[in-house]
């Protein structure tokens, strides 16, 4: 697994069940990562994925750094962490 750390510079949420987030040190130096739901997701999985999106929203307005975990060659986020301040 790989991690990408930085500030949330952009976040777009599609009501259809996906989100795209840009994480990086500045608005022009970012990595684009995604969170996508699946129609077969259980309630628990769907809520968990949405909670990661919510954490990214909160981190952006709080200007807090986040660490997103994802596959080495995969932009799909599997975990989100807000390090201690």
């Amino acid at each position: 697994m790989a991690t990408t750390t930085g500030l949330v510079q952009r976040l777009t949420i599609n009501a259809g069940g996906s989100a795209c987030v840009s994480i990086g040190p500045s608005p022009t130096n970012v990595a684009a990562l995604t969170i996508a739901s699946d129609s077969s997701d259980s309630v628990a999985t769907a809520v968990f994925k949405a909670s990661m999106v919510d954490a990214l929203s909160s981190a952006m307005v709080e200007r807090r750094e986040v660490t997103a975990r994802h596959g080495d060659t995969d932009s799909t986020i599997t975990a989100v962490e807000l390090p201690p301040a």
Partner: protein
């Protein structure tokens, strides 16, 4: 599809499952949009619709504009995003704490403008780079509560970003710049030393932990020293825009051996305890790859900085190079990071000089002091003759296919008659080498105008690039 951009003026949630969101420049100029929660929605859809509502709520509370996507002639929200800003405030705005704003193409004369409904406060950053404006301590003249912050220069002005300013508490871990968005950006960590280890008596609390302003000013001096001095090895090509910079100041830790990151050496040297830094920093989430750790101290009598070279991780990837016909490697990661202990009263070119040592390696190439005659190990920038009377060779070394000449004169200082060592050709022969005794700089008497030699510059550039772009 159409988009509407504006501030979230009002969100109304109805128990029929609809949320009405008004977006616009003001309440009277707002457009109304709908987000409907349908009992037939799959769990994944319901959950993400809730996240859309969460984003809109956060935006309303923070004063952030949003971009709402909807079908033409349809008020149903299909997507929402925060409207982008062209700058990025980093971390919370707290009186007396560090404060940084990132961006791109920031002019060197940029200032920070904080604006509330009634007050405009101007702050001149302690350091400005094209990607970063750094303030050592946020002044108390900035009003508390909601303000906007923007960067402004003579012919440039950024977006204004809403922020909330507080009076405290000061942060323990402060990210000054997060570095490239990848798993292991090259990192520089400043840490306030919790405990000092004397050579003969019991360890004691480092006074730096009771001097937050002194610590902040020292971090500022160090950053300015390595990034804004005449020597540009760390800022050339905006290399520093890729580097992670973090500060750790924790006045609550126990005074014990594990937390002592510096030892006092007679007569006045303060030395980093290189084997302690990784363990100490781990609880602060700085568990990523460490490259350069600056331990800031306030020992009363031991005020001469020192450094240890990096111990590269020779079991991990590297970039090959050839020095005098021998195959060598710039390793990408460290087993033990380069470390330095620096008193908060530091001056001259000390931080850069110590960085030069710490950024090099015990085995893969070291940049030692040039102000003494000692030789040992694989040194990049110092060799020795058999006898002091022997002539200094014309050529010093061949690195990466380029032959570098020797410094016949030891720049402006001159070799003592009993020395056998000699150095590569300087970039600026009128001034001491940055790894030599920079305090002898004259005309102007400013050590910050000293530079490396040509070989060390080329070698360190390649080594830094190998690590930064690993």
């Amino acid at each position: 599809m159409a988009t509407t951009t504006g501030l979230v003026q009002r969100i109304t949630r109805s128990n029929n499952g609809d949320a009405c969101v008004q977006v616009g420049s003001s309440v009277t100029q707002a457009e109304a949009f709908v987000l409907s929660f349908d009992s037939a929605d799959a769990p994944s859809i319901s959950a993400f619709k809730r996240s859309v509502l969460h984003l809109l709520t956060e935006a309303e509370l923070a004063g952030y504009p949003v971009v709402v996507t909807h079908a033409t002639n349809d008020s149903t929200i299909t997507a929402v995003s925060f409207a982008p800003f062209d700058i990025s405030p980093i971390g919370p705005a707290i009186h007396g704490d560090f404060y940084c704003v990132s961006g791109s193409g920031i002019p060197s004369d940029a200032i920070l403008v904080f604006e509330s409904d009634t007050v405009v406060a101007i702050v001149t950053p302690n350091l400005v780079r094209p990607h970063l404006a750094f303030v050592a301590q946020l002044p108390t003249s900035i009003p508390l509560g909601r303000v906007t912050v923007r960067l402004q220069a003579s012919s440039w002005r950024s977006d204004a970003v809403p922020i909330d300013v507080s009076a405290g508490p000061l942060t323990t871990v402060r990210v000054l710049y997060s570095g490239d968005p990848k798993p292991a950006p090259y990192s520089i960590v400043f840490v306030a030393n919790p405990a000092l280890t004397p050579e003969v008596t019991a360890l004691y609390a480092d006074p730096v932990l009771t001097d937050r302003p002194g610590y902040a000013n020292a971090v500022s001096y160090c950053l300015s020293n390595v990034l804004l001095s005449t020597e540009d090895v760390l800022r050339q090509g905006d290399l520093d825009a890729h580097i992670r910079v973090v500060s750790v100041f924790d006045a609550t830790v126990t005074v014990n051996d594990a937390n002592s990151l510096a030892v006092e050496r007679m007569p006045n040297i303060i030395e980093p305890r290189r084997d302690k830094v990784k363990g100490f920093l781990a609880p602060y989430a700085e568990t990523r790859e460490l490259d350069f750790v600056v331990v800031l101290t306030k020992s009363s009598a031991y005020d001469r900085a020192s450094a240890w070279y990096t111990s590269d991780d020779n079991g991990r990837p590297g970039t090959a190079y050839v020095y005098d016909g021998t195959n060598r490697t710039h390793r990408h990661f460290s087993a033990i990071p380069g470390t330095t202990a620096i008193p908060i009263s530091t001056g001259g070119l000390t931080p850069f000089h110590e960085f030069g040592h710490a950024a090099s390696d015990f085995v893969n190439g070291a940049l030692p002091d040039l102000y003494d005659d000692r030789i040992g190990g694989f040194l990049i920038n110092k060799k020795a003759r058999a006898r002091p009377a022997d002539p200094i060779p014309t050529n010093f070394a061949t690195y990466a296919g380029t032959t570098y000449g020797s410094d016949q004169n030891r720049d402006s200082l001159g070799y003592p008659s009993d020395w056998t060592s000699f150095h590569p050709q300087p970039i600026d022969g009128s001034r001491p080498n940055a790894m030599d005794n920079f305090w002898f700089a004259a005309n102007p008497p400013d050590p910050r105008t000293c530079r490396l030699d040509r070989l060390a510059y080329a070698w360190l550039t390649d080594r830094l690039r190998a690590k930064i772009f690993r």
